[in-house]
């Protein structure tokens, strides 16, 4: 473990990665809002984050993408819900911002330690 790989930095970078991947799935769902027969896809965020933080870092496996159950299908076989995707998009944005700012402040703390508290 190097100086910069504190547990918080590792966890935050994993969650940033996962949020970005989730946002990519949300964009995909939104892009296919008028595609007949398309089904909404998502990842289980909590489960994937637990797995990413518990495993060794070099075992990089892409998250498991599954179809979301329980959504109402329209007559053309498409079940993308605008409300669900818009809410998820807002949630992803805020989660990403939170994680990015936490990471920023963690690096600031490390710099404070390196410079000896400005003495």
């Amino acid at each position: 473990m190097s100086l910069l790989d504190t547990p918080l930095v590792v966890a935050l970078s994993h969650s940033l990665d996962l949020i970005a991947q989730r946002q990519s799935l949300v964009s995909e769902n939104i892009a296919n809002i008028d595609t007949p027969g398309y089904h909404t896809r998502d990842i289980d965020f909590r489960q994937e984050l637990e797995r990413a933080t518990s495993l060794d870092q070099d075992v990089a496996r892409p998250p498991f993408v599954r179809e979301v159950p329980g959504l109402i299908e329209r007559p053309d076989g498409n079940n993308v819900s605008i409300d669900r995707e818009s809410l998820l998009m807002a949630q992803n944005q805020l989660q990403f911002q939170t994680a990015a700012q936490l990471l920023h402040s963690e690096f600031n703390r490390l710099q404070l330690a390196i410079t000896g508290g400005g003495q």
Partner: protein, 148 residues
């Protein structure tokens, strides 16, 4: 994970929805057209949307080979623009130059209300995808803030 691939995904949708709006406006513009290069009245056109293949197997395979390209696929594309096979409307206008021997003129079967609803759908979908692009932009800018 490449944040810039989000632009690609939403970009394909912006393209597709714009084409859909173009086809709808072309239908509206030609709702009274009785002559076309192919002969006969104009035929109503429709777009066929098709999701670009991104099965979980594909995602797993490309993901293990090159993580950055894992999310590159998965947008939407217009696979074809098809003509509506509905028969033409026949109106009795004996003085019209395109009237047949009984005095009937063949007009395209285009319902303006249906076309307007389709146009609104395309517009709303375009807006939603544009806000997805905004979200991606914001996320990229926030990740740049980490450097400061």
């Amino acid at each position: 994970m490449n944040l810039f691939s989000l632009f690609q995904i939403s970009g394909t949708a912006l393209n597709a929805e714009r084409l859909r709006a173009e086809v709808v406006t072309s239908n509206l513009a030609n709702s009274e057209t009785t002559r076309t290069p192919e002969g006969g009245p104009y035929q109503r056109h429709m777009v066929v949307f098709h999701s670009q293949p991104a099965s979980s197997f594909h995602l797993l395979l490309t993901g293990s080979l090159a993580r950055s390209s894992a999310a590159a696929a998965g947008g939407v594309e217009v696979s074809q623009v098809v003509a509506d096979p509905a028969p033409a409307l026949r109106r009795y206008e004996p003085g019209h130059p395109d009237a047949d021997k009984d005095g009937y003129v063949a007009y395209p079967d285009i319902n303006p209300v249906q076309e307007m609803v389709d146009l609104m759908g395309a517009q709303r979908a375009y807006e939603l995808n544009a806000s997805a692009v905004q979200a991606a932009k914001q996320m990229i800018q926030q990740s740049l803030q980490i450097l400061k």
